[in-house]
Symmetry: C2
Subunit: 344 residues, 2 copies
């Protein structure tokens, strides 16, 4: 089959790789119907050192079950399913606590002999625990929004849940990438009163306004912090969702959060420490968030997508075929595409 | 009156200072019946640069109302009251949210013209909001435990509440000072299943066991982290209460916490950043805590002290008169005293 392999910064190729097959009785093989490029893929795309063997790519996909192992009982061939970006057994203590990203029998796509999502098919370990059936047809117009359950919409939701967004609360979302915009959508869904979006790409912040942002702040750094303070009577917001992952944006998040408030970090941390010293202590600031336990959120988030009341799939601005994936990376890195959908 | 003034590291004096009087209609003047030396006082005692004018000391006290301003309506002369370590109006939005340490009209003792607790009397601003009446006599044997409502027991409670300790949960408390021991007591009270105390002073950890610690780990640094891992099947504990405030103990806390768990920091931060990078993100680690909103906890914690079911006052190992306060500092700095009670 065809699949995506990254060999170094800027070097993404679509190549022939072995077809996946059942290896363990808990596996399923899924033919990919839609996948996409993640903002987090742009970090290695910018920084990865050259590798002779390369690394498979992609962790967001939905598709059709083509084969199942002997112990898979919740799925059958032909089911349309969405795959959260971490596979998990959904039965261990961490999974039962709502943290499938720390599953005792789980793991990541595109490593350790598991396929990546940016290809024609994927062997999914722990298929019963991981895959969630979608009650639509393979040609449904809802597929882009359903695909966001794999990662980006669940990740935005994770940011607002962990930062305790709710009715009457104010939240700042730092970053107008797809995760940030999905956090805006999730904050609106959970009833936030004020949703301030920090971003400087007008096409993106316009979509943010449609998703529910009440204010847009294009200023960056200290100026952006000051602007949010002005918009909140000097206090900052109850919640801050950090959807970039840079050292500076994390520092800004701590400058924006209200006393007693919560910073939830979603952007893959490009820093090793954060400035959480005496002042944050006196203000009882909480820092939380992390890799979103997407599997644990899908049942809650699915109905609103099925009835059309939320449309997180609007973050996809471009669609490519499988051989167009390298172009998709380029477009996202250039910021000409917000997020690229792949239709193999 | 006599009161404590610190002039620099190791230089604490008890001196004559002006008697406090009502300055604002919301003030009360409290004659101090019991006060104490705080572990946090040891930081300036170790590090303060010499100052000609010195700084008043003390923020934990209980006493008798001697005078009230014209707008004070909840208190009368002769009431025995405990003062939380931050004064606050108890009506602003932060106070209503349970965060009186961020009160819009609040502040700290021993600064800005407000007396310190380590003296014979204190002018307490926002007296109605701040002071809580104690239904005991001035010679009650419960006074030491009631005094801990001012700070140390509420602070321990804050650590376990914010780190979500409860039935079935495991918690590590780092530090066998009075705050750490009060955190153990508070964790026991809230039903924690496993309470691991990290400390190397046997007299203190023995009291920790009586307070509810199920395990004591005297090892420090990486060895201590490994020992906690061993005691928890490799996972670490759901909660970690950091009751020291050093950079290394904060790093250890992050090494001890279980995926999805919470580190609550109580020790006054002597660091400016914490190593909360990619790994903590993948593990969905939360860092929270801070200055305890003692005022908000007193009503909840008072009954168990009054009926004798908890005795946080056992952290006081030594008692001094007002002129013995410099000796009290020395004894705490030398670790010969755990916590020193002052009986002016």
């Amino acid at each position: 089959m065809r699949a995506t392999v990254m060999y170094g910064a800027g070097d993404v190729r679509v190549e022939n790789v072995p077809d996946p097959g059942i290896q363990n009785p808990t596996d399923a093989v899924v033919r990919v119907v839609r996948s996409c490029v993640c903002g987090s893929d742009l970090w290695p795309y910018a920084q990865m050192e050259h590798s002779e063997e390369g690394t498979r790519m992609g962790h967001e996909f939905l598709g059709v079950v083509e084969d199942i192992g002997s112990e898979v009982s919740n799925l059958k061939r032909g089911d349309l399913v969405v795959a959260p970006f971490v596979w998990s057994d959904n039965t261990c203590d961490f999974c039962r606590e709502g943290l499938p990203t720390s599953c005792r029998n789980g793991g990541f796509y595109a490593m350790d002999g598991v396929d990546g999502g940016q290809g024609e098919a994927v062997r999914v370990p722990q298929a019963d625990g991981t895959l969630v059936k979608l009650p639509v047809a393979e040609d449904s117009a809802l597929l882009p929004s359903l695909l966001t359950l794999s990662d980006v919409y669940c990740t935005g939701h994770h940011g607002v849940v962990t930062s305790r967004v709710g009715p009457g609360k104010s939240v700042t979302v730092i970053g107008d990438g797809a995760v940030g915009l999905c956090a805006v959508l999730a904050a609106k869904r959970l009833g936030a009163e004020q949703i301030i979006l920090l971003g400087r790409h007008k096409d993106r912040t316009d979509l943010g306004r449609e998703f529910g942002a009440t204010d847009v702040v294009p200023e960056r750094g200290e100026e952006g912090v000051e602007r949010v303070r002005e918009l909140t009577g000097g206090d900052g917001t109850h919640a801050v969702v950090e959807a970039v992952g840079a050292e500076q944006t994390m520092a800004n998040a701590l400058g924006i959060v209200r006393h007693g408030g919560v910073v939830s970090r979603l952007g893959v941390a490009q820093y090793t420490s954060i400035p959480l010293g005496f002042d944050a202590m006196m203000g009882n600031i909480t820092v939380t968030g992390g890799a979103a336990p997407a599997r644990a959120y899908i049942e809650e988030l699915l109905p609103d997508i099925l009835d059309g009341s939320v449309e997180p799939g609007r973050v996809f601005t471009h669609t490519v075929g499988i051989d167009g994936i390298p172009d998709g990376y380029r477009a996202m890195a250039d910021r000409t595409a917000l997020k690229v959908l792949v239709q193999p």
